[in-house]
């Protein structure tokens, strides 16, 4: 594949963007999901009879906060493979 300098710069920017996108995009979900799970540990310890309800709420909440991580993954894959 022959690339002109201009095409090289554009593609290189897209690849650096992909790395930054996934890296920073993982920050929020990671911290957020950890916070949810920490609070769930606290909740289950305080009222173990509601463990299944709390676990359900934790998983649904984590799934929602995971979504931005998945958006970042999709954008990073698009930047790598379709620019």
């Amino acid at each position: 594949m022959e690339l002109t300098l201009a095409q090289g710069i554009v593609k290189a920017a897209a690849l650096l963007g992909a790395g930054m996108c996934m890296g920073m995009g993982a920050l929020g979900p990671g911290i957020g999901e950890g916070f949810v799970a920490g609070k769930a540990c606290e909740g289950i310890a305080r009222s173990p009879e509601n463990a299944s309800l709390i676990t359900r709420t934790m998983l649904v909440g984590q799934a929602v906060s995971e979504s931005t991580g998945i958006y970042s993954l999709v954008i990073a894959l698009l930047l790598i493979f379709s620019t």
Binding site: M1, E2, L3, T4, L5, A6, Q7, G8, I9, K11, A12, A13, L15, L16, G17, A18, G19, M20, M22, G23, M24, G25, A26, L27, G28, P29, G30, I31, G32, E33, G34, F35, V36, A37, G38, K39, A40, C41, E42, I44, A45, R46, P48, A51, I54, T55, M58, L59, Q62, E66, G69, I70, S72, L73, A76, L77, I80
Partner: protein, 250 residues
């Protein structure tokens, strides 16, 4: 031109400085949190002095792990035989990126491990009778939060040792593309481990805290900790995938 042969060493030395410089920030903070909580704990429970001191030292050692990874990468960059002149811009980009990956990658996990160890010390002071169970849970939690630092270490080592030399006769566009994609790989895994590392550390810290308050619910607490930590790890795995793609598939 001197620069045309020296840029690989320049990149290696820059990477070495970045790696241990950034990696030391939160390793220091994390160990400090644990020592602080340990001191407060000994003040509250002078009778549990030995157990608290042991928990504090073991917790600090585990929180240092990511800092030690960063130190190892720095040492490899300085003394690992990278005072070479062949390899071209690919090699230079890979060495700089290895330092970035491990330096930034150590930030989250060591902060998480520090929080977890701090909560464990608090918990042992509250309930010295269950000190061993709490210390076991602290170590498991710290190991979970160091997982993402291990991802960063793996990517860093791959960048050091499995990036091929730049083939002769490539045009400028292609050289730029591949070099920048290697830097992107380091940034992806480095930044990508901050969130999961810190998040899992929070989970583990809360689990340690609750184990000191409600020791009877130990198995429930550990189950929730594992489940929650596994879900928060997922974004670190996405970052690992993107970093591999940027190293090997571009």
């Amino acid at each position: 031109m001197i620069l045309s042969v020296e840029y690989i060493r320049i990149a290696a030395y820059l990477g070495a400085g970045i790696s241990v410089g950034l990696g030391a920030i939160t390793t220091g903070i994390g160990s400090g949190i644990i020592a602080g909580e340990g001191a407060i704990g000994i003040m509250k429970q002078p009778k549990a002095n030995d157990q608290l001191f042991r928990t504090m030292l073991i917790g600090q050692a585990a929180a240092q792990t990511a800092g030690i990874f960063a130190l190892v990468i720095s040492m490899l960059l300085i003394y690992g035989g990278f005072d070479i002149t062949e390899g071209g811009w690919f090699r230079a980009a890979a060495l700089l990126s290895a330092g970035l990956a491990m330096g930034i990658g150590a930030l989250g996990p060591s902060l998480g491990a520090g929080y977890s160890g701090g909560e464990a010390c608090k918990s042992v002071a509250r309930m010295p009778k269950h000190g061993n169970a709490i210390m076991g849970n602290m170590l498991i939690g710290q190991a979970l939060s160091q997982t993402s630092a291990i991802f960063a270490l793996v990517v860093s080592l791959l960048l050091l040792y499995s990036v091929p030399n730049q083939p002769a006769g490539l045009n400028v566009g292609k050289i730029l593309l591949k070099s920048i994609s290697l830097i992107g790989a380091g940034m992806a895994i480095g930044l990508g481990t901050i969130g999961p590392g810190a998040g899992i550390g929070y989970v583990a810290g809360k689990a340690n805290d609750m184990m000191g308050r409600f020791p009877k619910e130990r198995s429930m607490i550990m189950r929730t900790m594992f489940l929650g930590a596994a879900v928060s790890e997922s974004t670190a795995i996405y970052s690992l995938v993107i970093a591999f793609l940027l190293i090997f598939a571009v």
